[in-house]
């Protein structure tokens, strides 16, 4: 039997069905548009995306080698006031993440103080012994962070996940805005929305500020390392390189030369200063990590540790967004900032703890259970929408390897309307703001990427599982 989810907070309409202030300007414009205009524009936008090649690849699905992430034309709107509070919380969290990473790879004060169990680091593949005792250029670990937020009420934003490895999706944030501005220019003259388009420039500046000791250029040379055109996020890699004016390189373009990482150009080998890598730690250096990798550069870790190159994000940052670590984030934020966390965590049961496991097993049909190392919405259980058989099967997995799972209550994610054939209809959303870190400070682009579950009632917003995206607006004061 399926349980009814608790009522969700709708970001456009209040309980009486009147429009909330954030959406006042938009709704007024929306009501003035002819009924079929938005839908027509929707197919225009899709044709536009196909032609320009904004697609992503889905692994294991040959027929749909390149698919579009569906784009919904109704924006997700956040007021200036809400954003101020959110960005304070995000900044605090990102500051803590970097301090935490530095501590983990040096003195491990947080473990010594007893706030973080040492067992979480032992045998954790995300913790890289190669990084112990090494400080990355500029002291920055997470040059780019994506903080996944969910909302359950007027003032209730919670962090669902910290993406400290290689967060993706920023190209959709940028293209969604471009598309909206191209389709509805007059809308932007009526509602003042904060700019996102300078993200690539800020990213380039932020990366250049982290040049390694060996860099002898005034303007450091930045390159984006992609696994290649068959990677699901290749469009984004090419897009960002293009927008930053950086080279888009693959492992086969690079080699170690005179203690630097150099790329093969038509004129010879040229050293790279900062490598924005979109290749996982595991594949970065066959000499240090996966010996079968052809995506990385042999010897890059030695060059890195000798100050010959900056790798962004630093190897080993994955330990900070590990789901087992996640449940300790409130303590981590307090430990390193000396402040109460501004953004709350989603309450989390660590199945490795016997009492928590018992609770989770007793209430499985009401909880969301995630794999500690999983991502992309794969391998998770959403209790309330799962069948009896799925629940039984998952229970067996849980009992077999409890330490592999965490559980959270099924959240009543907030909703924002999407455009359907029958008009506007509410769908669940989350928000991923993008954060840049450099020695000069923390820079948060207003808004971020709103992901939306397109199926009615669905809570899974991942693009790999049929989710879509929306343009995300932060209103100007």
């Amino acid at each position: 039997m399926k349980k009814i989810l608790p009522a969700s907070y709708d970001e456009m309409l209040d309980a009486d069905g009147s429009v909330r202030s954030a959406y006042a300007g938009y709704c007024q414009w929306h009501d003035e548009q002819p009924a079929d205009l938005l839908r027509r524009k929707g197919s225009e936008a899709e044709a536009f995306f196909r032609r320009t090649g904004i697609t992503f690849n889905v692994y294991g699905n040959e027929d749909a080698e390149e698919r579009l992430i569906p784009f919904d034309m109704v924006p997700r709107i956040i007021t200036a006031q809400q954003w101020r509070k959110l960005s304070r919380g995000i900044e605090q969290r990102v500051r803590a993440l970097n301090a935490f990473l530095h501590d983990l790879y040096h003195r491990q004060e947080i473990v010594r103080s007893g706030r973080l169990p040492a067992r979480l680091l032992k045998n954790n593949v995300a913790f890289l012994p190669e990084m112990v005792g090494f400080t990355p250029p500029g002291g920055v670990y997470t040059h780019i962070v994506g903080i996944d937020l969910v909302r359950t009420g007027e003032d209730d934003f919670m962090v669902l996940e910290d993406n400290a490895r290689t967060p993706s999706g920023v190209s959709y944030m940028l293209e969604n805005r471009e598309t909206m501005m191209a389709m509805f220019p007059e809308l932007f003259t009526r509602v003042r929305v904060r700019e996102v388009s300078d993200y690539p420039r800020r990213l380039a500046r932020s990366l250049a500020a982290c040049a390694p000791p060996a860099c002898d250029r005034k303007k450091p040379l930045v390159a984006v390392l992609t696994p290649g055109i068959y990677n699901s996020a290749y469009f984004e890699h090419a897009f960002l390189a293009d927008q930053m004016g950086a080279e888009l390189v693959e492992g086969s373009d690079l080699r170690v030369e005179n203690g630097r990482i150099a790329m093969r150009t038509t004129r010879g080998y040229e050293p790279i200063d900062v490598l924005y890598r979109r290749v996982d730690d595991e594949y970065l250096d066959p000499l240090t990590f996966n010996p079968n990798s052809v995506l990385g550069v042999t010897g890059i870790m030695d060059v890195y540790r000798a100050g010959g190159i900056t790798i962004a994000n630093a190897p080993g940052t994955g330990i900070a967004d590990d789901k087992a670590i996640y449940s300790f984030m409130p303590e981590i934020v307090e430990f390193y900032t000396g402040e109460k966390p501004i953004l709350q965590n989603v309450p989390t049961w660590r199945c490795s703890e016997p009492e928590a496991l018992k609770y989770v097993l007793d209430n499985l049909s009401e909880l969301v259970v995630k794999e500690v190392h999983g991502s992309g919405g794969y391998g998770m259980l959403i209790g309330p929408t799962s069948s009896k058989r799925e629940l039984v099967a998952f229970e067996a997995k849980l009992r077999a390897r409890p330490e592999n799972y965490i559980a959270q209550p099924t959240l009543a994610l907030s909703t924002v309307p999407i455009l359907t054939k029958a008009g506007l209809a509410p769908r669940h959303v989350d928000l991923r703001p993008f954060v840049l870190v450099s020695p000069n400070g923390i820079d948060i682009t207003p808004g971020g990427l709103t992901r939306v579950a397109l199926k009615k009632g669905s809570l899974v917003v991942n693009s790999s599982q049929g989710g879509g995206t929306k343009d995300s607006w932060v209103l100007d004061d």
Binding site: R51, T52, G53, I229, A238, A241, D242, L248, D253, T266
Partner: protein, 315 residues
């Protein structure tokens, strides 16, 4: 720029050029087949497969049944043919994706748009009725990409690598067509001039989109020496070997200016280009047309390899 990107842009334009030339070959073959008896039509279709070096692959698939639809579907879209127009166009698009940052939005969109249309058009077998429209699509894509490039791309190294890809490929294709048809052009002692030969000669010209230009320049006279001279030595005709090489020379020269030094490929090209200024068609026929073309194709391949080596296309 990255060596890999130079390789990508070079092959993007080689593939586009190749697809365009193959489509023209099919069209000329189709026209010949329509005007001939059934057995001669079969010969014509077979000769098309031979020109493209596909005989073994085709016969493995269809035996010796050289019917029109078998032949043009094999060339256009057969999965057993790794050099099909569909595969080549896909290859062009893959390369364009790889060098997306080096080409303008207009160039990318015309490549991508052309590929999407062609993929749809080739999703099912092509009938004789649809053949013309499909071939048109292939040529239109090539024309559009070329136009987008002319109109929007910086005249820098990327442009030069793109052009070199086009002209290396075009010279190769023109030479190959000549090579397969050279016996048609060989004036024999007993030559009296039959209408059949006239049609064959015209067909050679049609394969390289040269029949109108040739007629215009020669006031309608058809003779094999004239045609061979036109395709090999006439610098005014954009698909002649001499034209391709004069372009290659200017693109390589502008690359040398940009980089501040010449490479080994400059030397090779200087020698190769020189022969077009000193050679006469009489000399070529004396040496043997077949030998001349064979030598040219080998030298052209060697030049392409040298460019790839000089500019570090691969490791």
């Amino acid at each position: 720029m990255l060596g890999r990107s130079a390789n990508g842009i070079f092959w993007l334009f080689r593939y586009l050029e190749r697809a365009e030339n193959i489509s023209r070959l099919i069209e000329a073959g189709f026209r010949m087949a329509l005007t001939r008896s059934a057995s001669d039509a079969t010969d014509e279709w077979r000769s098309l497969i031979v020109t493209l070096g596909l005989r073994q692959a085709f016969e493995a698939r269809h035996g010796t049944e050289y019917t029109g639809p078998h032949v043009f579907n094999f060339i256009l879209r057969d999965k057993d043919n790794p050099g099909s127009i569909l595969a080549i166009t896909e290859g062009a698009r893959t390369n364009a994706r790889m060098v997306r940052g080096g080409i303008t939005r207009e160039v990318w969109e015309s490549v991508n748009d052309g590929w999407m249309q062609l993929r749809d058009a080739l999703a099912r077998p092509v009938t004789e009725t649809r053949l013309g429209a499909v071939l048109d699509l292939v040529r239109r894509q090539s024309t559009q990409v070329r136009g987008a490039m002319e109109g929007t791309m910086l005249r820098n190294e990327i442009y030069n690598f793109a052009r070199m890809g086009s002209f290396i490929e075009r010279a190769d294709n023109t030479a190959r067509i000549l090579d397969v048809k050279y016996y048609v052009l060989l004036p024999s002692v007993s030559y009296v001039g039959s209408s059949l030969d006239n049609v064959q000669w015209e067909n050679v010209l049609r394969s390289v989109a040269g029949e109108r230009a040739y007629r215009w320049l020669n006031a309608g006279r058809m003779d094999p020496r004239g045609i061979a001279e036109f395709l090999i030595l006439d610098e005014r005709f954009p698909r002649s070997l001499a034209f391709c090489y004069s372009k290659l020379r200017s693109n390589l020269a502008s690359l040398a200016r940009e980089y501040g030094n010449e490479m080994h490929s400059h030397e090779i090209l200087r020698d190769a280009d020189c022969q077009f200024h000193t050679a006469t068609i009489e000399g070529i026929f004396e040496q043997g047309l077949h030998e001349f073309i064979g030598k040219f194709i080998r030298a052209n391949t060697a030049l392409a390899l040298q460019i790839q080596r000089d500019y570090r296309f691969t490791e």
